[in-house]
């Protein structure tokens, strides 16, 4: 049960009880703020939870639930997901969706259906199927799933074209919100890594002794520059 004491120039020293730092770090990763709740640092736990989760869900919202997905195939290497995974459990449905759609299966939580890439009326390829444009199409459609990779992977011979175009369609329909949503969710994931560090090691407080050392170094450097 490590306890860190930070001496202060004035007032009581700051004491931080990290409990089991490994568990705290795991909880902090799994749900932003949970590691701090485990350590009974409630104020910081709430602060991390509100800041990180609101950023993440806002990004996911403006990205229409499509900006967090796991895909590491040639042509669609979603490196941003590595950063988004930093937010923990809220990003995990993307892994479930990736596994579900890996071999051409339909995703869970379907948002909409689209005409396939080889649809005879090529101007409708990748377009959403709506009551207005649906001419009783009975073939296999492309399904957009919540936090699922871009669909259309069921035809290996046109894999790269289909993959790229569905993603392109998302960018086109979402306008700048797709990029903005990606940015918000990536930043949320990266910020949670800071929270994990804080849960594992405690805050990076500069103690009076360290402050003194920094100031003396600054003075030395100034003297050197004058000479």
């Amino acid at each position: 049960m490590p306890e860190i004491v930070y001496p202060q120039e004035s007032g009581e020293p700051v004491v931080v009880d990290l409990k089991d730092p490994y568990w705290a770090a795991f909880f902090a990763w799994a749900w932003p703020g949970a590691g701090h709740f485990y350590q009974r640092r409630y104020a910081k736990g709430f602060l991390f939870m509100i800041c990180i989760l609101s950023t993440y869900f806002f990004g996911l919202g403006i990205g229409q639930g499509r900006v967090v997905y796991a895909s590491f195939k040639p042509g669609d290497l979603r490196w941003q997901f590595v950063c988004q995974l930093g937010v923990g459990a809220p990003a995990l449905p993307a892994i479930i969706q990736s596994m579900k759609t890996k071999k051409g299966g339909d995703p869970y939580w379907v948002l909409c259906e689209r005409f396939p890439a080889d649809y005879p009326n090529s101007s409708l390829a990748f377009h959403k199927i709506t009551p207005e444009n649906n001419n009783d199409y009975t073939g296999k459609t492309i399904k957009d799933g919540f936090m699922a990779p871009p669909g259309g992977m069921n035809k290996p011979q046109v894999r790269s074209r289909v993959q790229t175009d569905t993603l392109g369609r998302w960018h086109f329909e979402g306008k700048h919100y797709f990029e903005m949503g990606t940015l918000f969710t990536v930043i949320a994931g990266l910020l949670n890594l800071l929270a994990v560090y804080d849960a594992f090691c405690g805050p990076a407080i500069i103690t009076p002794a360290q402050q003194e050392m920094l100031e003396s170094k600054k003075k030395k450097n100034k003297k050197k520059s004058k000479q």
Binding site: V16, C51, L111, Y177, L194, D198, I206
Partner: protein
């Protein structure tokens, strides 16, 4: 339109917000979280966050100004 887009676009009217304002919540959140990793007391966290936010806005303003100036060479 799915539930997400109808809530976000129709009700919150995000489409009417200029893109630059999306930086504001990010600056606030990044400053608060960074401040929280440097202090334990809320008062110190908020003070540190405020300084960070001012620094961020200042830095962004400098970059904005440089890009704006560079635009005259078009």
């Amino acid at each position: 339109m799915n539930v997400f887009s109808s809530v976000v676009f129709d009700h919150l009217l995000l489409a009417a917000i200029p893109q630059i304002w999306y930086a504001l919540p990010l600056i606030v959140v990044v400053s608060l979280v960074y401040g929280a990793t440097r202090h334990e007391n809320l008062r110190e966290i908020f003070t540190h966050s405020l300084r960070n936010a001012i620094w961020c806005v200042g830095f962004m303003s400098i970059i904005f100004f440089l890009i704006w100036i560079a635009g005259f060479w078009n």
